[in-house]
Symmetry: C2
Subunit: 337 residues, 2 copies
């Protein structure tokens, strides 16, 4: 049986949204154990006593890492925090994956310093699944900010891990891989992107060339690889634009008189379809790939839905034995050197 270690105290709606999602998803994951790390009294209040047992446990912790905490300092000083104790469970083999809605930097640090990197991997990369206009399936983008400084050797490993993920977890056959760049031609970008282009072109991946920012959301690629700095800018730019447009649309519909309000009611179904299409929740959380266990993050403001979908995503990652796959792949490379 696989075990997911869940930081029950991270995020704006903790611990309730997390507990609710756990209780909801549990019947669907018969072969998975979940451990909730956090304030025992609060958690026991939220969980019916008969639900606790072999498949759902509480581990009491006394501290919480907040969004304001400085990440590396926090994981060193708050030894009894829900996040750090959960990470230690994974490190010690008592759990197989770490999930948190808390401080992203601290979660990355917990992953890197407590759980540790897979041998042969230079740097872990953070990879969400984003919606795409042309498919239900969305696309993966890696790295969106675990690294401020990147090297071609990192990007090629991220591309391989993300393509493996797309194939195993999302069921994409021979995923199309593209490099986020400032133009289509192979000589575009700075030294980093030119060198990465060559590594990708020479690899076994289904590399379709460079992709530009305006093509990201079209689903042209199943996997987009990017340096962690521009990847972070790209991710936040599309999130920001989307949020600004949808808010402005809502404002326009509410503040243009009665006729518009009636019209808005009549198009409600269509707007719901649109929202569903670009709903990020159903794609689960962002996975930090390259560590000895999956470390997964969802937005701190998440309610039950994103948490529910992320738990299903983690279950799938564990069922597909992704980490063993990576270890096999990258230890081969080490030997091949």
């Amino acid at each position: 049986m696989k075990t997911i270690a869940i930081d029950a105290m991270g995020g704006e709606n903790a611990p309730k949204a997390i507990v609710d999602a756990v209780l909801k998803v549990q019947p669907e994951l018969p072969d998975t154990k979940m451990i909730l790390f956090g304030d025992q009294a609060k958690l026991e209040e939220l969980i019916p006593a008969d639900k606790l047992g072999e498949k759902l446990e509480i581990v009491a912790t006394s501290e919480i890492i907040s969004d304001e905490d400085e990440p590396v300092k926090a994981i060193r000083s708050k030894k009894d925090s829900s996040m750090v104790v959960a990470a230690r469970y994974v490190k010690e083999g008592k759990a197989d994956a770490l999930f948190s809605l808390g401080n992203t930097g601290a979660l990355l640090a917990s992953g890197i310093f407590i759980i540790g990197r897979i041998k042969g991997i230079n740097r872990p990369g953070l990879m969400p699944t984003l919606p795409a206009s042309n498919s239900e399936n969305g696309f993966n983008i890696i790295d969106v900010g675990a690294n401020a400084k990147s090297k071609p050797e990192y990007l090629i490993q991220w591309a391989k891990m993300a393509a493996y993920y797309a194939e195993k977890v999302r069921g994409v056959n021979n995923p199309k891989v593209a490099l986020l760049n400032n133009g289509a031609e192979s000589d575009k970008g700075d030294d980093l992107h030119q060198a990465t282009y060559q590594l990708l072109a020479d690899s076994d991946l289904n590399f379709i060339g460079n992709i530009e920012g305006n093509e990201l959301m079209t689903g042209k690629a199943d996997v987009v690889v990017t340096d962690g700095f521009s990847g972070n800018i790209a991710l936040k730019s599309v999130e920001g634009m989307s949020s600004v447009l949808l808010h402005s649309l809502k404002d326009s519909l509410l503040n243009n008189g009665l006729k518009t309000k009636v019209g808005a009611l009549m198009i409600k179904g269509a707007l719901g379809d649109l929202r569903k299409k670009y709903d990020t929740a159903r794609h689960g959380g962002a996975v930090l790939l390259g560590l000895n266990a999956p470390v997964v993050k969802t937005h701190g403001r998440s309610d039950i839905r994103p948490v529910y979908y992320t738990l299903k995503q983690i279950d799938k990652i564990l069922a597909e034995d992704l980490i063993e796959g990576f270890k096999h792949e990258f230890s081969k490379q080490e030997e091949g050197k």
Copy 2:
């Protein structure tokens, strides 16, 4: 009298959209002369004979640089192209600004190699004005792709030029300047962004700190400075997301049955407001700042509207004597060194 050199052959709708915009804007720019460079027969066919004269001239050219041409090679080999001859007019002092809808790379190359950099400026930066959710005024972002490789010395100069532009041309008092980065704290980003942060903090600019991708379109900053690589990714990402969302909205409204179609008609006014708010056309074109004359680009697919607004924008740049301002500012710096 100031003179604008206009490449009449660039873009999908050339020369008609360009000629139409010139004829429309002319009565509003009584002190500005415009020269159209291109196919004389075609241009004469589009321009009523009585409109030609001291304030509107045609210079016949025999070649066109297409979007497929390799930029630097094109400006060297196509010596009689509308773009290159127009640039030479500026170089020789026969015109004060260069405007084209053609090949962006070739236009940048024409600007850099023919018109030349202002003494004291390291690299020119490309700067559009984008719409913002909180103001009619939008914001400037520089550099969005004239440079694949950037240095802190470049970014501080771009910030100064863009702030000067925001103040003089857009009328923003003491413009707020921010650095596009992957987090809010001063130590965020790679070496380039950390060093640039310090230069900005030590400058006379109204520096408000780092801005993240998701805050770009909110209008938090009047001027955003960024390295040319991530700036290009950010600009294209917001353009792409906006285009994908608006297309999906249209699709949803058209393909959800009669009730939705009727509702769509009723909210037409509200959608028009939204489109107007995020309309980039009324902000004019992207200006390549740092050269001995303004070099301005609008989208190749532009129709008459963006061209019209860009001509007004160029007129304002010339009226405010922006280039003289830059020369004064940066030659001072040279002396101060």
